[in-house]
Each structure stands twice: as C-alpha cells, then as structure tokens.
Subunit: 358 residues, 2 copies
DNA sequence: ATGTCGAGGTACTACGTATAACCGCCGTGA
DNA sequence: TCACGGCGGTTATACGTAGTACCTCGACAT
C-alpha cells in the first residue's frame, strides 16, 4: 500500500485537495483492517470485534475527523436514499415550511433531500434530472410545479404529489391538507357572523387544489340556503394583482360583505383594496385567508385564516415516499387544518345582533 | 455477465427495487462496451467513436431512460462537488431567497446544494456533519447559524460566511450586503424629511450584522449634527415581540418621530404598536424596515425599507466558495443594497415644510 | 493428544462511472 | 508485400465503503 496521501509536507501546487481521510486511513492509524473500521463505525461489531479495539478505532476516527463518504456508501446496492422535492418557488414562505418539515423527517430516517425549485423565476431552468435525479430515489412534488414533471414519467421514480387529486394515477401517493374541511369551517364562521353575500378571490393557478377550494366554497354556501356566492375574481399571487382583483370583486352588486381568499397574500391585497375604496375591515368587509403565514399576523387587522400544516405536509410527503419505496401501496394522506380566528372578520354591516369576529 | 436485472417478468417480492439502468445496460442495448457509453455520454468521444455508434448509444440511453449515477461518478477522485448551506431557519422568506440564489448559481456550475437548517426549531437537531458533510466540499453559513458550526473547524472544509465580519479568519470568505450604505441611506432619507429624534428597534440577535447596523445608525445620526438616537430597544424576530419592544421605545422621552427597524417583521410590529398607542403611520411616526419581504408591500401603509439582495447573496456565496475551492484567496464580497421608499415614512409632526415620504 | 468451536479479525469483492492503457484492423506508403 | 500509424473501439482499474466468506488461534471437551 504505497499510496501517497495528503500527509506529505509542502505539497507543490496550491490546488492540492486536502483529501479527506478514508476508512483506510483510520484503519492504518488504529492498526486494524479497513473492514474492522467499517464494522465498528456501522455498529455491527458486537461479538465480532473486541471492545478495546473498537474503542481505539473510534478514537482514531475522531482524531482524523473521519466522515464516511456517503457517495461511496450509497454505491452499494440500493443504499442510496435521497428524495427530490420539487416546489414551484422556494422563495415562498409556504414551500419553505414544506421543505423544513420534509427535511426534519428525512434527517430522522437518515436520508437526504435535494431541492428543485421548478421554473418560473428568471433565467434558464436547469433540468432537474440531468443534475439531480441520478441519485434520487423518489420525488415529492407540488402540483404547482407540475410542468416540471414532464420528463419524469419515463424515469419510473416513485412519486408523491402534494396538493393533487387523490387517485388520479394508481402508483402516485398524494398528501393534501383537508382544505374541504377548512373551507367549510370558513363558511360556517362567516354564516354564524351573519354574512350572506360572499365573494371569492381565487388564485389564478390551474391546480386541483384551487379548483377544489372553489367547488367546496360554492357547495358550502349553497348548502346553507340563505347564503350565496356573489362574485369570483381570479388573481395572481402578488399583493398588487390581488388588490386589483379585489377591487373588481367589490364592485359586484350586490357587494359581498365577506371575501374568501385563496391565500394570505391575496387576503392582504383584499384588505388594501377595501381600504382604498373606503371600506373598513372588518366592520364593512370581512376577509379570510389561507395558509397562516407570518404576514397574516403582521397586517392590520390580523387575518382570520385557515392554517395549513405546511411542515406536516413535507413530513407526510417524505413518509409516504418511504412507504411506497418500501413496496407498500401508494396511499392518500389527508392532514387536518385549523381555522384561526383573528381580527379580519366580524358581523356584516346592518346585522348588529351577530356574534363578534374574535 | 449473468447478472439478473429488473427485466425479468413477474419478479417475486413486491419490494424488488426497479433498479435504475446503468451505463452497462445501455452498453448491452447498444452493443458496445460500458467504456464507450461513458465516452459518448461525457462528450469525450470526438475522434474515438464513430458518429453512428455514438448516436446509437445516445438512442439506447434515451430508450432506457438512463441517468448517470452521480454518487458513482463523484467517487472518482475529487469529482464530488456539493456545497452545504447552513441557515438558521429556512422557513424564513429571507433565507429561502438566499437558498434560491445559491441553487440557481449551483445549477449553472453543475454542483449540488444541500441544506442544513440549523437548530432552533423544535425537535432534536440532526448533526449536519454526520449526515451531510461526508459528501460536502464546502460550507456556506449564515452567521445567524453560527452555533451549528462548532463541529466544523476540524473538518477543514472551505467556509463562506454570510453576514459576518470580514477578515476575522484568514481562510474564511465573507459575503455581506452593504448594510452600512443602507443605513446611511435610511438616515439621509429620514433627515431630509426633517426627523431629529430617531429610535432603533434592534433585533436581539448577537450577530456582527446587527451590531454593525446599530453602529452605523449611531454614527450616521451623530454625523448629522441635529439628529440623535433617543431610544434603542431589542426584540425577538416575531411580530408579537416586536410590538412589545416598539411600545417600550415609543414611551421614551422625547418620543422618537421615526423608528428604524432591523427587519421588516419588526417594522410591521412597530406599526402595530403605533396604531395601538393612537399614533398614525406615517403622519405621527415614520417606520423603516430592512429586507423588503413580501410582507413589506402587504401591510398598510407599505413599508419604506432597505432591500437586501438575498438571492444575490446566495449566488455570491456559492461563487466565493467555488473560488476558494479553486485555490484562490478567500475574498470579501460586498453587495449593493437599495432603499425602497414607500408609505411608512413622512415628515414628522410640526414640520409641515418638509418633502413628502413618497 | 486431538477435534471442535467460537471469538476476533482479515482478504476480497461488488457497487457504477471515468479513464488510462492497450489492441485489432484497415488503408497507405515504401 | 509488409511495416506502420491512426481510427475505433475494448479491457482493466481506481475510487471508498459494506459485507461476506474465510482464516487463525486459543480454549475447552473428548
């Protein structure tokens, strides 16, 4: 074994990689074989290696700052464990939280998560599979990033969809927040306050989730006899676009006394529009959001909103992926949501008897 | 070569991994050797492989959906290229944007980025180096995640610090927004509006950046003769804490007519506090933030704030890392910032002659 | 005295890719 | 006709880790 490693003093060029120590280096230092090092460090040595040697191996590993090379480890059959998380734009707080949940769960199972922010931003979109999928065992993707998934099918990778219709494809697991329940809670809340004329500020995103929201909202209102949907406006996901859309909605007649928004950012825009039109929130107009972002508690008044379990969605996505990776049936997970009542909802004008929004 | 692969029909157990095709499979299909496949697909075949064969190799690769296994590739000497991005909490819009920038730049250079959200959230913090550093070539870390870096030094990995004092450690590159310039612009803006008594709502984070902000703010005000810092309150990074801290600051005497906040979230909290105390923003109190988050344009009034180039910081961090990886000196990058004047600043009360905030 | 057994460890090989080294074949010039 | 060079590939090997098969040696039972 004459391999000359980084130990040599005054190595010539400046670009000499500081070659990380390998298990062989640890073995040399501890006076054992490489195999023994592997056994000890993988905790498979019980009854195979004497405790004294085991300790000296660990000692040597510590002294050298040895870390096993995951690439090499993953090379061994089927050991590679990496999930690809495809989200539309990580710059969004919501998806950042989804990632956070997935990452935490992944850490517990000692698997990696690599992110692919799908196109939509500026610049050329890198091909997620050219660079990443090689080491990827499965994909967790938001339906909002669906266009990035075109090249996926032939890959044959296990797939978990977030915010996507359950049962569309047999092999695809889904993870969804129980948005139907959320919408029903919102409607119940608004009806209890006395609202009858409700508007919907919908996200102009062609996604099952958003279609589902609209459908459930319409159904819930229709089911309540007295209430009705008097306006539906579509908007992009920025405050500016939302403000414009909300102004359109508020010019409907009869004017809605409550605006259900598909997103907290939209709700913030709606509040802005209301103020601009001389309406007070919540006295003249109630507004509800979805997500419960930081923003929801920062605006004035604070938003009544449906808290979506973003972290849990990430975690559940990873769990689902592990499940199909383990050969089990692709399941559909439904996560509970929670209505957070804050200051942006109250009884409509001219209905003084109803309960307070808070 | 009798290796039985996934092609067999009706393989027994359900858990049979759908073994991704390897370069050898492509070679078999194309009727060439594995080496030839590698040559063709790595574009090193000019003059070594006939165009016809090259095409049939590509054809076979396409048919099989072949993707090279990066882990195996990286096994070959020094080929691994992965950066570890250590941030305090990805759930924060700012760091999500930093990651986005880093990821985009990384994609251009065909290197990977793996995230390590440093402890601070709930649950046990996974050891970043036990799971990740093995395959990591360098680290980009926010100074807000400094506590996660304790185990790093002995690793001997190249390090790039975001938001950290330049020149502290010789081998460490730094990337900073030019916050000094930002603070000077804020001060100039406020002074031009006629403010004299300024308060500082500081982030209670023990970080060089925040110390630097306080220092530059004090200096800028002191340099302007007539102005002075009348209150400094420290706050956590949530709206709730910021509101409480801002209320304390607004009880100082003389009461500040402008509140400079270290963060947009803090600024939102300050606005909330002002409203609660019967003060109008911006007529009675001007408020400025830092970051230019989505939130800044969502609150009412919209925040005058210093836009920090989050994406650029991520990109610059990656560039810096590549630079030291390439053997060059560790440099210090300073990124320009921009004052975004919106509705939360105006002339102070009793100074009617000054220019408008917008 | 010798066979047996288990503890304690080593040799070897697979994993998938990249590349250096090599090698046959065919056209060509002497 | 034959040596030769280069074209068009192949063979072999390294990379770092995990794990299996094997090997050795001492203790103990027979």
């Amino acid at each position: 074994m004459s391999r000359a490693r980084g130990a040599g003093p005054a190595d010539g060029g400046a670009n000499d990689r500081p070659n990380r120590p390998t298990s062989r280096d640890v073995a040399d230092r501890a006076g054992v074989s490489q195999a023994t090092v592997s056994l000890v460090l993988r905790d498979r040595w019980h009854g195979r290696v004497s405790p004294g040697r085991a300790e000296s191996v660990r000692e040597a590993a510590r002294a050298l700052g040895y870390r096993p090379n995951l690439a090499a480890r993953s090379l061994r059959l089927g050991q590679r464990r990496t999930a690809l998380l495809v989200v539309p734009a990580l710059t969004t707080e919501f998806f950042a939280r989804v990632h956070s949940g997935a990452a935490r769960m992944a850490a517990e199972h000692d698997i990696g998560v690599v992110l692919y922010p799908s196109p939509g931003g500026v610049g050329p979109a890198p091909d997620p599979f050219a660079s990443a999928s090689a080491t990827v065992d499965g994909v967790i993707a938001s339906s909002m990033a669906a266009e990035a998934l075109t090249g996926l099918r032939d890959g044959g990778l296990p797939l978990v969809m977030l915010d996507s219709e359950p049962g569309l494809a047999p092999a695809v697991a889904t993870v969804n927040p129980d948005i139907a329940d959320g919408m029903r809670q919102v409607c119940a809340h608004l009806l209890r306050l006395g609202h009858r004329d409700v508007g919907h500020l919908a996200a102009a995103v062609d996604t099952w989730t958003f279609h589902a929201r609209a459908r459930v909202l319409a159904e819930s209102l229709a089911g309540a006899g007295s209430a009705r949907l008097v306006a539906t406006e579509h908007s992009g996901l920025t405050v500016r676009e939302a403000t414009a859309a909300a102004e359109r909605a508020l010019r409907a007649s009869p004017r809605p006394t409550a605006l259900v928004c598909d997103d907290d950012v939209l709700a913030a825009g709606a509040c802005k529009a209301a103020r601009r039109m001389g309406l007070r929130v919540p006295q003249d107009l109630s507004v509800t959001g979805i997500d419960d972002l930081v923003l929801a508690a920062a605006v004035e008044p604070e938003l009544t909103t449906v808290r979506l379990p973003a972290e849990e969605m990430g975690a559940a996505g990873l769990t689902a992926l592990l499940s199909v990776l383990g050969g089990r049936e692709a399941g559909n997970t439904l996560l509970p949501v929670e209505l957070v009542c804050r200051g942006s909802t109250a009884a409509p004008p001219h209905v003084p008897g109803a309960a307070s929004g808070r």
